[in-house]
Each structure stands twice: as structure tokens, then as C-alpha cells.
């Protein structure tokens, strides 16, 4: 049996194709490790908690409740959205929370594995994949809650509801891609994580999460260009059974994510040894 040969040396030239192939290959090979890590984290998270899964909803429900109150009490005047406002707000904050979690996921998971990254050689792509597994688990639970609201507020069943999981998958893809680009720098400097938390708060108001796109003005322009807008709107349209008006922009964004995700994976692969070197004194 021929032995696998590995060579470690300073890379002089970057072969994008070879790196991508290696990255995807490792991702495929590390399915068991990724699942094991995801299972470990999910189990550990819920075993030491009584409320368990409820914590996944607290943030989006809280945000939605604030806006429902603001709207109902007349504190702010929001334009009519065409669906019961609670469903509008809930669906928006829920998808938003999935997106934020996806952006944070690559960095968080890599950071959490710092201890073993500096000691053991394993396919690092497993960390990304386990992050995706965890996101899908959380999203699935959130989706159930969303479906419950759809029926509770009398929006009722639409066939398009069956497409919502795909839209959420797209949200995870978009978030992971963005997160992947921020990860290398974010692992070196803690500032990046803080900027993400801080920035996402503002970005939420530049995205039709809790209110619709205004008819005119600067905010309309920002929202129309914001690449998160089509993801939120399309998902919501599928939930409530409207025909998605941002579908083409949605497809463009997702189509752009695929090559960018590949680029991110290659960058991640190049970056990890450089980062491990700086982490381990």
C-alpha cells in the first residue's frame, strides 16, 4: 500500500484550484467529525440548561415584541405591510437572527477550537461544517415556531411555505460566506467580533426586518441595494404566500455567494496556519 506523502514548506505560488479541491475534499472527509462536534456542542448547550431551546427564540421574539408594541401603541407609524404585523415582525427578526448567527458562526467555531487547533492536525473545514450543522438545527426549530405563527395569526397555508427551507438555506449560505471573509482577521483581532455585533444592530434598520421599504428617500435607496434585503423579503414572501418581488436580485445574490464561498474557503485554508502561529505562543 502506497503511503500518503505530505510536504510542508513555504508556499511560493497559490494554486487556487488545488486548494479548493483539497478544501472541499477535507470537508467531505470530515463529515463525521463535523457532526460529532455539532452534536457535542448542541448536547452540551442543552444539558446544562432548563430552558434549553427557548433561548434560541428569546432574541428575535424580544425584538419583534418591542416593534409590535411600538406599532400598536402608535409610538411609530409604520406603513401597511399587507400581512398581520406580528407575522411580519416575527418572520423578519427570525430570519435576521439566522443570518446574524450564520455570519458569526465561522469565527465563533474556529475561535472555540483554538485549544485543539494549536495542538492537533485535523481538517479545519470540519469546524465550518459543524457550524453549518448547528445553524441548520437552530433554524429548523425557529422555522417550526414561524410556521406556528403563520397559522396562529390566520395567514394560513400556502404551497410556497414548502420553499421556505430553501430560502433559509440561502440565508445560511449568505451569512457563512460573509462570516468566512471576516474570520481570518477576526481571529487575530477581537475588534472584528465587536464590530460585527455593533454593525449588525445598525444594519438591521437598513434592512426591511421590522418595517417595509419606504416609498422614497435615502433609506429606500440603501434598502434597495442592501444584499440582505432580497433574502429577508423573499423568505417572508414565501412564508406568507406572496409572489416574491425581489426574486431576481435574490438569485443574483445567491449565485454570487457560491464563487465567493469558494474563495472564502481557500482563504480560510491559507489563513489557518498563519493564525495558529500567532495564537500559540
Amino acid at each position: 500500500m502506497a503511503l500518503e506523502t505530505r510536504v510542508y514548506q513555504k508556499e511560493r505560488t497559490i494554486k487556487f484550484g488545488a486548494l479548493l479541491k483539497a478544501s472541499l475534499g477535507d470537508m467531505l472527509r470530515s463529515r463525521f467529525l463535523a457532526r460529532q462536534l455539532a452534536e457535542r456542542d448542541i448536547k452540551a448547550q442543552y444539558r446544562q440548561s432548563y430552558l434549553g431551546i427557548i433561548w434560541a427564540f428569546v432574541m428575535p421574539i424580544g425584538t419583534a415584541l418591542v416593534w409590535i408594541f411600538l406599532n400598536n401603541s402608535g409610538t411609530v407609524r409604520l406603513s401597511d405591510t399587507g400581512v398581520p404585523y406580528p407575522v411580519y415582525a416575527f418572520s423578519g427578526t427570525l430570519i435576521w437572527s439566522i443570518m446574524v448567527a450564520a455570519i458569526n458562526s465561522p469565527m465563533q467555531n474556529t475561535n472555540a477550537a483554538k485549544g485543539i487547533l494549536t495542538k492537533i492536525n485535523f481538517p479545519k473545514e470540519a469546524l465550518l461544517l459543524s457550524g453549518v450543522y448547528k445553524l441548520l438545527f437552530d433554524s429548523f426549530i425557529k422555522l417550526l415556531l414561524l410556521v406556528f405563527f403563520v397559522f396562529a395569526f390566520g395567514v394560513g397555508f400556502h404551497w410556497s411555505l414548502l420553499l421556505v427551507p430553501f430560502a433559509i438555506l440561502a440565508a445560511v449560505l449568505f451569512g457563512t460566506t460573509v462570516g468566512l471573509f471576516l474570520t481570518p482577521l477576526g481571529l487575530l483581532y477581537k475588534d472584528i467580533g465587536k464590530i460585527i455585533t455593533f454593525g449588525m444592530q445598525f444594519l438591521m434598520y437598513a434592512t426591511p426586518v421590522v418595517y417595509a421599504i419606504p416609498d422614497a428617500g435615502l433609506m429606500r435607496t440603501v434598502m434597495m441595494y442592501n444584499p440582505i434585503t432580497p433574502i429577508i423579503l423573499t423568505t417572508r414572501d414565501l412564508v406568507v404566500g406572496f409572489s416574491p418581488e425581489f426574486l431576481s436580485y435574490f438569485i443574483v445574490v445567491i449565485a454570487a455567494c457560491v464563487p465567493l464561498l469558494f474563495l472564502g474557503l481557500v482563504m480560510y485554508r491559507i489563513a489557518i496556519p498563519i493564525i495558529v502561529e500567532r495564537l500559540s505562543a
Partner: protein, 412 residues
């Protein structure tokens, strides 16, 4: 492929390996950003030292075949761990090249991937997955792992309630299932109780036969026992790189300048002079170590100023090895020597044959009052490190006492 050929193949080849590190955190992070950018662009730059950088590993070369074991020794911070990280593929070298053939197993961190909340059984899967086992492999090895760790009773208990020894046992039990071609060991064996440590060494002994091993340790007897090649690192450079393991170990010991000492006692006896004599000649006093030859005769000579307030006293020399273990005594009472002379006295003590094994030792001296019932009284004088010696002229070094005697064989 025949087995013989198989055994001769070079599994690890290291050529001109260098790695630089940065002393300052902020600068290090900034260099990290620069390296990221040049890494992504694919830089052609030669590796020059930038400000605040130093070579953590410089120009290391070696080859290792199946069945060979390289002992990697050196002070703390000499670059051993950095070298291991490069060999393990965790970080990339700045210059040079590593070629490794076959499965690499690393015993650097035991129990990686453990989550304290989860049970021992669940964590076997976590740890196993990180080490590269498939679910099927772990399923089939589960019983063997639990048995090896001797944890049947506690395997479904959360790992956070394990003692540290139990955690290590579980971690080693999982790692012991690896069947690598190249094994990297970083002194993880210094933990656990004696029984388990023996078990670990036995398992490593089994692996030694079929793998190429790189073994990092501060425990020289262990290195002497299992290594057949040695690299001694100092400030990242190899100052010994050969198959002469004992010479490497000797140099390692000579690197230390053990000047730490505790001097005590109630002051009733003062030390004026101490020397070691061979054939009536005092051995050189200026060197860090006095070199003594194995199995030769030496005289230890003390010149003391003994106060008139003292009573009967004895002298004890203790020989302490590099692991701070007392390995021998030279005790006046054993040969019925109890003194009571006052004033300036000269005490000589002759060792007929010094049968200490190779290595360095520090000699401590204690002069104590001895009561009529044989009990120890006041300490008159005490010095934990009166002289460092280096025993040479004995080929093997992994045991502190080397008997010397006549051997005979009679054919019946």
C-alpha cells in the same frame, strides 16, 4: 513491496527547516495580517527577520526511518514545541521543507475535543473524531478503549467529575488506538499514576517497532531508553544532531548551570573549603562541573571551623540528579564515623568506586548534631549544592547507579 524494503524507507525528511517568531504581541498580530495578505497573494519574498523577530527554529535537518526514534531535547523555549508543530503540519515553516510519508499520530494533547458536561463515553467519540477515527472504528474499539482506561464504572459520568488522572487515562486510551506510521510525542506521559504510566510506556514501546517516532522530553533516562538518534536544540539551532544519544544527553546536562542553593544551619559550624581530590590532587575548581570518572576513587575533603559549643556531629553528602531526585548518600554514620573535634578541622571521606551513572549531579552536604540515642539534633551546617559533578566514562546513562563487577559463565 517486501517487508525489508518497507522498514528502510525514510518516513520523515527535514531539510533546512527554519521558523521565525515575534516577541511582541501587537507586532506579531500585525505581521499576521501582513502574512495573511502575502499568503493569499502568494508571496515570492525571501524570509528575512523583521523587527522584533527571532529564529525560533533555525536550519534543522534530519531523516527518520521506520523503527527509529529521534529524541528531541533542549531547554524550555529552545524551539522543541515549534519544531513539533511544524512537523505536525499545524504551522508552516518560513524556510526549508518537511516531507512526511504515512499517517501521522501526535501524542501532544490528550483528550482534545472533550466537553466537560458530556459523559466519558460521548467524549470517546468526540476525541476519536478529532484524532481522525471514523464512527465505525470507534464503535469497534470502544470496549478496548474503556478497558485500557480502566474506567468501566465511570464511563457514563460527566467528564467534569473525573479526576485529572482519569481524564488523562481516557485521553491516552483513545490515542493509544492510533496506528500511525509517524508518531510525535511531547512528554504527555509525565502524568497519571505509576501503574498507568507503565502501561503507556509499554504501548509506546509496541508502537516504536513499527513507526518512526519523534520524542520530546525533559526526562533524560526516558530519552536514553527509547531514542536512537538525538537532536539537542539551543535557541532554535541544533547543537548536537547525531546517533550518539549519550553524548547529546551529556551536552544537555552541561547546558545547565545549577547555581541555586540553600545554605542553612545554626552557624555553629562554618565551611571554609570544599574540594574533590583524585590521587591527592584537587580537581579544578573553576569549572561549572567537576568531571569525575565512573568507577574511580575520589576523596571529598571539607575544611570546617567548628565552634566549641557543638557536641557530637556527623557528615552526610547527598547526590542529587537533574530531576531533583536524591540518588545516593555518602553518610559518615554508616561507617561508624561520628566526630566531636572542635576548632579548625579537616575531614576527608574516600569513595572507593564511584558507581554513579552518566550525567550531572549536585552534591549537598549536611553536618548535624547526633544525640547519644542516635537521634538527629541541631543542624550545624547545610548546603544543598556545594558542588556540581559530571560523571563520565560510562557508556549508558539511563540509570543513576551502575554496578561494576566480575561476570562469569560456566558451560554445563
Amino acid at each position: 513491496m517486501s517487508n525489508i524494503q518497507h522498514n528502510n524507507e525514510v518516513l520523515v525528511k527535514v531539510e533546512g527547516l527554519s521558523k521565525k517568531f515575534c516577541k511582541d504581541l501587537k507586532t506579531s498580530l500585525w505581521y499576521g495580517v501582513k502574512d495573511l495578505l502575502s499568503g493569499i497573494r502568494g508571496s515570492q519574498e525571501e524570509s528575512q527577520l523583521r523587527a522584533k523577530e527571532f529564529w525560533a527554529v533555525k536550519d534543522i535537518n534530519f531523516e527518520l526511518r521506520r523503527g527509529e526514534c529521534l529524541g528531541l531535547i533542549g531547554h524550555n523555549g529552545a524551539g522543541k514545541s515549534t519544531l513539533l508543530k511544524i512537523l505536525n503540519g499545524l504551522i508552516n515553516p518560513d524556510a526549508g521543507k518537511v516531507t512526511i510519508r504515512g499517517r501521522v499520530g501526535a501524542l501532544i494533547e490528550l483528550g482534545a475535543g472533550f466537553n466537560p458536561i458530556l459523559t466519558g463515553r460521548e467524549n470517546i467519540y468526540n476525541n476519536g473524531a478529532v484524532l481522525g477515527f471514523s464512527r465505525k472504528e470507534i464503535d469497534s474499539k470502544l470496549e478496548a478503549i474503556i478497558a485500557f482506561a480502566e474506567l468501566d464504572e465511570f464511563i457514563d459520568m460527566p467528564v467534569q467529575h473525573y479526576s485529572s488522572g482519569m481524564k488523562v487515562r481516557l485521553g491516552f486510551a483513545v490515542a493509544a488506538q492510533m496506528e500511525p506510521d509517524v508518531l510525535i510525542i511531547d512528554e504527555v506521559l509525565a502524568v497519571g499514576d505509576v501503574g498507568f504510566r507503565m502501561k503507556c510506556l509499554t504501548r509506546i514501546g509496541e508502537l516504536l517497532k513499527t513507526t518512526a517516532v519523534i520524542f520530546v522530553s525533559h526526562t533524560m533516562p526516558q530519552v536514553a531508553r527509547i531514542a536512537n538518534k538525538i537532536i539537542l536544540l539551543k535557541h532554535g539551532e541544533s547543537i548536537e544532531n547525531s546517533v550518539n544519544v549519550s553524548s547529546g544527553i551529556e551536552k544537555y546536562y552541561n547546558e545547565f548551570q545549577n547555581t541555586d542553593k540553600i545554605i542553612g544551619g545554626n552557624g555553629l559550624i562554618k565551611l571554609k573549603e570544599f574540594n574533590i581530590y583524585k590521587d591527592n590532587r584537587a580537581l579544578n575548581n573553576n569549572e561549572k562541573f567537576v568531571s569525575l570518572e565512573f568507577n574511580k576513587s575520589y576523596v571529598l575533603r571539607l575544611k570546617l571551623n567548628v565552634s566549641h559549643e557543638t557536641r557530637d556531629y556527623f557528615v552526610n553528602f547527598s547526590f542529587i540528579d537533574k530531576d531533583a531526585k536524591q540518588v545516593a548518600n555518602f553518610y559518615s554514620v554508616i561507617s561508624n564515623n561520628i566526630f566531636n573535634e572542635k576548632g579548625i578541622v579537616d575531614i576527608t571521606a574516600k569513595i572507593d568506586n564511584l558507581i554513579l551513572g552518566q550525567g550531572t549531579y549536585t552534591i549537598g552536604v549536611a553536618i548535624n548534631e547526633i544525640k547519644t540515642n542516635g537521634a538527629r539534633g541541631d543542624i550545624y551546617y547545610y548546603d544543598s549544592n556545594i558542588k556540581s559533578i559530571n560523571v563520565v566514562g560510562v557508556p549508558t546513562g539511563h540509570s543513576p547507579i551502575q554496578f561494576y563487577g566480575d561476570w562469569d559463565l560456566n558451560k554445563i
